[in-house]
């Protein structure tokens, strides 16, 4: 048996979850009767759509109005306008820089979390050692740690270190939630992968490290990818750390920057610009969600349902 055989076999077994997904759909597809009941199901679905999307839609529509008719209540922007978007990027708010900062912070956090997470998850899912469930329990417990309990002491420490207004002041505390998230997700994924393939590879003369690198890691790639998306979204959405550690607008992340958007006058917040900025911060995530929705749902539900 060669390594490529192993990979093919694993690819087959990797396709299994999707097959069962389809099977669930089939088993319950007893011919829909056109009764009031089926209509009520559609009504329910329409309500869910409206519930989930209406507020987001309202943000989108408002961002496309001119400042003059921001208080209109029409469902489509009457004169369509990109005025707000132009203002967001005109330089006075440094919003472009904030987006870049977010990208750097969330990206670095994700890379570090994955790097540590892959090894930790391998150990937990594949090796026999004492205190295993205790260690996993502790790692998961840390993900429930309230952000403020990290921020207050670290704020003090980072002030002494001169780290205030630096990227690392955001990245290091972000690891406190990113690592547990990554370890947990990766562990769940690796547990689900068949153990036999690595065993076969090792019987064929691979060392444990080779089996890990050449058999398990390629198989776990989808799981690693999903974990990367989830970790990235969480880090991108992080607020309290970035708010506390940074007071220089040049280093601010996007979520903090938009919460601080203020207009020329104190009495009229620039809602149009805020909505436009909100759309810009959210749209990359929404696109990710649309493209990778199956994976994301898998990742989100992996830990909770067994």
């Amino acid at each position: 048996m060669t390594l490529s055989d192993l990979r093919n076999a694993a690819a087959d077994s990797g396709a299994a979850p999707q097959a069962t997904d389809a099977a669930v759909g089939r088993s319950a597809k007893a011919k829909p009767k056109r009764t009031w009941r089926s209509y009520s199901v559609y009504l329910g679905l329409a309500l869910i759509f409206a519930y989930c999307l209406a507020p987001f839609y309202w943000m989108l529509v408002s961002s496309l109005r001119r400042t003059a008719d921001i208080f209109d209540n029409t469902l489509l922007p009457a004169p369509f306008s990109l005025e707000n978007y132009a203002k967001v990027f005109d330089g006075s708010t440094m919003f472009g820089q904030a987006l870049l900062n977010s990208l750097v912070v969330a990206g670095t956090t994700t890379v570090f979390a994955l790097l540590l997470g892959v090894f930790a998850a391998y150990a937990i899912s594949r090796l026999n050692f004492r205190f295993k469930s205790l260690i996993l329990g502790v790692i998961i417990a840390t993900s429930m740690f309230p952000g403020i309990s990290v921020v207050v002491p670290l704020l003090r420490l980072f002030t002494d270190l001169g780290w205030i207004n630096t990227y690392q002041a955001m990245i290091v505390p972000s690891l406190s939630f990113a690592i547990p998230l990554a370890v947990w997700n990766l562990t769940t994924f690796m547990k689900a992968l068949p153990f036999d393939l690595e065993e076969a590879a090792m019987i064929d003369g691979c060392t444990k490290w080779q089996a890990f690198r050449r058999v398990l890691l390629p198989l776990a790639a989808p799981g690693v990818f999903t974990t990367a998306i989830l970790t990235f979204i969480h880090s991108w959405n992080e607020f309290i750390i970035a708010l506390s550690m940074i007071n220089d607008p040049k280093i601010q992340t996007a979520t903090v920057a938009i919460s601080k958007f203020t207009g020329a006058t104190e009495f009229q917040a620039p809602f149009g610009e805020q909505m436009a900025a909100g759309v810009i911060v959210t749209v990359p995530l929404v696109i990710m969600v649309l493209v990778f929705q199956r994976r994301i749902v898998e990742g989100l539900t992996a830990g909770a349902s067994k």
Partner: protein, 337 residues
């Protein structure tokens, strides 16, 4: 299969008589490898979780006061005050503020998690029946989850503006984002909007592993929809639901971004413990800020322990892990025979 040229230590076949000792030896080797692989993670977590926790406990015993420093000049010095920062949580003006924040945190946690759970269950039930457009549905349900909390705060502030769409649709003139119960309601609505779909997704995943035969058998036995819900669906999704509710509660207990952006800092009716601690540290009162952070941590820990120990939420999948290692061991034992 057992005749390999260069067998790695882990899978070397062993005669039956030597098995117990062999296993102990393997565990030691694997233990060392596990320690090696886990130590970076544990080191970093100790740095970003354990150190802050200990530092917060330490800091909460001190207070910055204006006094005379070593050279006899007037300066802000930190003096050891014992448990005074904790005692102050129950007396005077600061005590009133703390108890208010504690009350708000508890109130928000209970109300939002209750509403989310009910709504999430309804969403899951509806999605479980829908087969056309399910992937579209799943994508749309992920949108509220993906919107950053800060953005959702901004978004709902716009909706709840005094001349915004909420008041227009309801024909009311409520000042949602000022103070009082209206602002509490605004926070709850915005929070439930964002998180109910998440619970719905988790519960749906739990529902989908229930085999269809169970329902069919129930139908044959004459069980109606409600009976099926109460006797099959709910008991079987209970473990999933328990974990989801636990996570939501822990998340709600540390609520910060949403009230901060939607209503604003320092507003009595929506100030949570996180916001209070943040505000204190912003005023450079690190002592009391740390004390609040420690209290919040203890609160979160107690809730988590109650869920895991009393209600039996299987958060880590520890039971399953044990099963897997047992299975592996059995398999290896068979292979060696």
């Amino acid at each position: 299969m057992t005749t390999t040229t260069a067998p790695p230590a882990g899978v070397q076949p062993a005669p039956d008589s030597a098995k117990p000792r062999k296993r102990a030896k393997r565990t030691a080797g694997e233990g060392r490898m596990a320690a090696l692989l886990l130590s970076p993670t544990i080191l970093v977590l100790a740095l970003v979780i354990l150190y802050p926790l200990l530092a917060a406990v330490h800091q909460s015993l001190y207070r910055a006061e204006t006094g005379l420093d070593a050279d006899g000049f007037v300066a802000d010095v930190e003096s050891f005050v014992g448990l005074a920062n904790y005692a102050d949580m129950f007396v005077g003006e600061s005590g009133r503020r703390f108890l208010n924040a504690l009350g708000n945190t508890t109130f928000f946690t209970l109300t939002t998690v209750f509403l989310e759970t009910v709504l999430g269950l309804c969403l899951a039930l509806a999605m479980n029946r829908a087969f056309r457009g399910r992937s579209f549905l799943r994508a749309s349900i992920l949108v509220p989850w993906a919107v950053p909390t800060a953005v959702s705060g901004l978004l709902w502030r716009w909706i709840f503006q005094s001349d915004g769409i909420a008041n227009t649709l309801m024909g009311s003139e409520i000042l949602w984002t000022a103070e009082g119960n209206a602002s509490r309601a605004a926070v709850i609505i915005a929070e439930v909007w964002k998180t109910a779909p998440f619970i719905g997704l988790l519960v749906l995943a739990g529902m989908q592993v229930i085999p269809g035969e169970v329902y069919e058998a129930a139908k044959i036995d004459g069980a109606g929809w409600w009976r099926q819900l109460g006797s099959i669906t709910l008991p079987l999704v209970k473990p999933t639901l328990l974990v989801a509710v636990l996570f939501r509660m822990l998340d709600a207990l540390r609520m910060f971004d949403l009230p901060f952006v939607l209503i604003g800092p320092g507003k009595e009716s929506v100030e949570t413990l996180s916001m209070l601690a943040w505000d204190e540290s912003n005023q450079l009162r690190y002592g009391s800020a740390s004390a609040f952070a420690v209290v919040l941590f203890l609160y979160v820990a107690v809730v988590a322990i109650v869920f895991v120990k009393v209600l039996g939420a299987d958060v880590t999948g520890a039971k399953e892990l044990k099963l897997i290692s047992k299975k592996n061991r059995q398999k290896k034992a068979e292979a060696t025979r």
